[in-house]
């Protein structure tokens, strides 16, 4: 399902967390699209409609697409473009580096071979490279990693990121085009911050071979479909559940689509079947929602069950009290309601890799720009 007509265009994919980064992403996309137009291109930008409505913490993608000179086809709103499409991948929250999302299995899926990766982080580009090698890539890559601490350039991290992405995307448009775009929006007081970010962002040329990537070694195929067992040709509970499992285990969205049933196989009235009592929904796991994760100190836990009761996602087992990280979204309610202060909320990168990521936007900080 490669999309050759989309590969002709220049793509920027901005990955952010729902509600927290929406305003940032739309601002970045707007500013850079206008820069592209100033440089003589046609430019569109949009949030992938399937990510809408955006939900707190749930990842979304904003695209800015540049034509040379025109964009002649309808851009995909639901299914992500596949093939060798993205020229620049920007990540506003570094915890997204170690996740697979509901559509892309890996962060670098769909990226062009010479793509740039721009990350808002306090970690060095070489550390980022290792994370990508471990979690986010299964293809040859000869591009750039650009990092910066976006908060340094203003409470609104869109400014810093705009500058850094401009560095990644030149010469498609220049920093002067970006400045022109900002001035046309009446944002003259942001120009200095954007320019500084552009000049100061850290850059590293990288080469990564597919076979050195962890995910390449692990990458599996969809697997054989079990012979369809439904009575009368359409599914019964057993056939449905085996379809559900196969779809849930598909490594990419493309492959999930492959696993879908034909019209003859779906039961009339699109009847589906629910899970068993307390059996978590394999059809939609949500570990990609976490920036922080709850860690229980069992020395302090008194087994009061407050965390189990108050988790909106039911991600804490009842007996024994234990977090299920496939479904925990890292909202932090459990840590707040715990009467024994037994739950801490380290950053995902700390918990997974022992890394000290200092660049993150607390939701309170994000809402100060977004809503307050």
């Amino acid at each position: 399902m490669v999309s050759p007509e989309l590969e002709e265009l220049t793509w920027l994919a901005i990955h952010g967390r729902g509600v927290i980064n929406t305003a940032h992403s739309s601002q970045i996309a707007l500013t850079l699209s206008q820069a592209g137009v100033a440089a003589g291109r046609e430019a569109f930008y949009y949030m992938r409609y399937d990510d809408s409505p955006e939900r707190v913490q749930l990842p979304f993608i904003y695209y800015a697409v540049f034509g040379n000179p025109r964009i002649r086809v309808i851009l995909p709103e639901e299914v992500e473009p596949v093939g060798s499409v993205f020229d620049t991948v920007a990540v506003l929250d570094s915890s997204l580096l170690v996740k697979s999302t509901s559509q892309r299995a890996l962060l670098m899926d769909g990226a062009k071979k010479k793509a740039s990766l721009v990350v808002n982080t306090s970690l060095k580009p070489s550390v980022i490279l290792n994370l990508v090698r471990k979690y986010g890539c299964a293809q040859d890559w000869e591009g750039k990693i650009i990092t910066l601490r976006a908060k340094k350039y203003g409470q609104n991290i869109a400014l810093g990121m705009t500058g850094a992405i401009a560095k990644a995307m030149e010469p498609l448009y220049s920093i002067d085009d970006v400045v022109e775009s900002l001035e046309s929006e009446g944002k003259t007081d942001s120009v200095d911050a954007v320019r500084s970010a552009y000049e100061e962002a850290d850059s590293l040329d990288v080469t990564l071979k597919a076979q050195d990537c962890e995910q390449y070694k692990l990458k599996s195929s969809l697997g054989e479909a079990k012979p369809f067992k439904g009575a009368k040709g359409w599914w019964d509970r057993e056939a449905y559940m085996s379809l559900k499992e196969r779809a849930a285990n598909a490594p990419t969205y493309e492959q999930r689509i492959e696993a879908m049933p034909s019209w003859e196989q779906i039961a009339p009235a699109l009847i589906e079947f629910g899970p068993k009592v307390s059996e978590r929904n394999i059809g939609f796991k949500t570990s990609f929602a976490r920036t922080f994760r709850p860690v229980i100190d069992y020395g302090k836990c008194v087994n009061c069950k407050l965390c189990h009761v108050f988790c909106p996602d039911g991600a804490i087992d009842y007996e024994p009290i234990k977090v299920n990280y496939e479904y925990c979204k890292g909202c932090g309610i459990c840590a707040r309601v715990c009467g024994s202060k037994a739950i801490s909320m380290p950053h995902e990168l700390q918990a997974l890799e022992g890394l000290d990521e200092e660049e993150f936007l607390t939701i309170r900080e994000a809402l100060i720009e977004y809503a307050y």
């Binding site: 749930l58 629910g274 978590r280 939609f284 309610i333």
Partner: protein
């Protein structure tokens, strides 16, 4: 459930089983999702759930092959919650009466939002409340907006709340100028209503008991459940429970029940905290933080309202409260 409801006294008596299981595309910290979990825990496995369109429909069924409902569940239209509940209950009764189905108690829970029940579906809800089908609960999860479409005002959006249809600007500073409609009182006014209550996701034991009382009341019932919404109300998701507790402790949200014509408060804060504490914690009110006149009006409204609640609690009778309009 038939006969006496199984009431609980402690949090640890809340059943461990989940009928709304993990794995849905709801916001981190989603109040309505927590409500769903708790309400279905209270109702148990012999339950049919109807889900009007809204966050609790779209967010729970993202894509395909991803149901989180371990009990029979069916979508219904935004304004159809009332009819969906009554149609389901009527079918059960007809089939049992005719011997086409075993006779037993089966709960019907319509888990719908304020947009659906207070606005477009008010007519159908009212119809449902006039009937006598037992074990039918209209659970109104109140996140005080049409959240799924991006947070627009509904008739339960409180005074001063910013939504995309009621933003604050130079000319219209207040944001939402209408007052919050009390759906529980509207339900309570229906003749021969068996059980009506208000609840909050921050008070789970109270919620479980109210759900069980409603389902055993012998007639259609309504519980209006305050379900704080981190996205719509603009607060960090870890504070969902605190916001709910604060709504109660400031008196912005009164917890009460009305059982067979008798009213009582189920929570009586000895002293109510200032509503400004509640308002300051939510970005949807940020344009009011320096608006003394508006804040004063909001405090006065709550204080006046509590005069009525206390009177109702004393007499056990419902008195129609009246809030004067804002003169700012």
């Amino acid at each position: 459930m038939s006969g006496e409801p199984r009431l609980i006294r402690k949090l640890t008596e809340i059943p461990a089983e989940d009928y709304y299981v993990s794995g849905h595309r709801t916001c981190a910290g989603c109040g309505p999702a927590l409500g769903y979990r708790l309400v279905l825990k209270a109702a148990g496995p012999k339950t049919i759930v109807l889900g009007p369109t809204g966050c609790m429909y779209v967010a729970n069924g993202h894509q395909f092959l991803s149901s989180p409902y371990a009990v029979p569940w069916y979508h219904t239209q935004l304004g159809a919650g009332g009819a969906a509940g009554i149609g389901t209950a009527a079918a059960l009764r007809a089939l049992m009466f005719k011997g086409k189905r075993k006779v037993e108690d089966v709960n019907v829970v319509v888990y719908g939002g304020d947009g659906g029940f207070a606005d477009i579906g008010l007519s159908g809800l009212s119809m449902g409340l006039t009937y006598d089908y037992p074990h039918l609960l209209y659970l109104l999860y109140d996140n005080e907006s049409y959240a799924n479409t991006g947070v627009q005002a509904s008739s339960t959006t409180p005074f001063g709340s910013s939504t995309t249809f009621t933003p604050s600007g130079k000319v219209k500073a207040i944001g939402n100028e209408r007052l919050k409609k009390d759906m529980a009182l509207i339900a309570a006014v229906h003749p021969s209503i068996g059980y009506v209550a208000t609840a909050s996701v921050s008070n789970p034991v109270d919620l479980v008991n109210k759900v069980r009382k409603a389902l055993s009341s012998g007639r259609p019932s309504l519980v209006q459940l305050l379900a704080p919404c981190p996205k719509g109300w603009a607060f960090p998701p870890e504070e969902t429970i605190e916001i709910g507790q604060m709504a109660v402790s400031t008196g912005m949200w009164a917890l009460w029940e009305y059982e067979n014509g008798h009213f009582r408060l189920t929570s009586k804060p000895a002293t109510r905290r200032r509503i400004s504490e509640y308002v300051m914690k939510q970005g949807r009110f940020s344009h009011l933080w320096k608006n003394e006149a508006a804040l004063e009006y909001m405090q006065l409204s709550v204080d006046e309202q509590w005069g009525y609640w206390e009177e109702m609690d004393k007499t056990g009778k419902i008195i129609l409260p009246w809030t004067p309009p804002y003169q700012g």
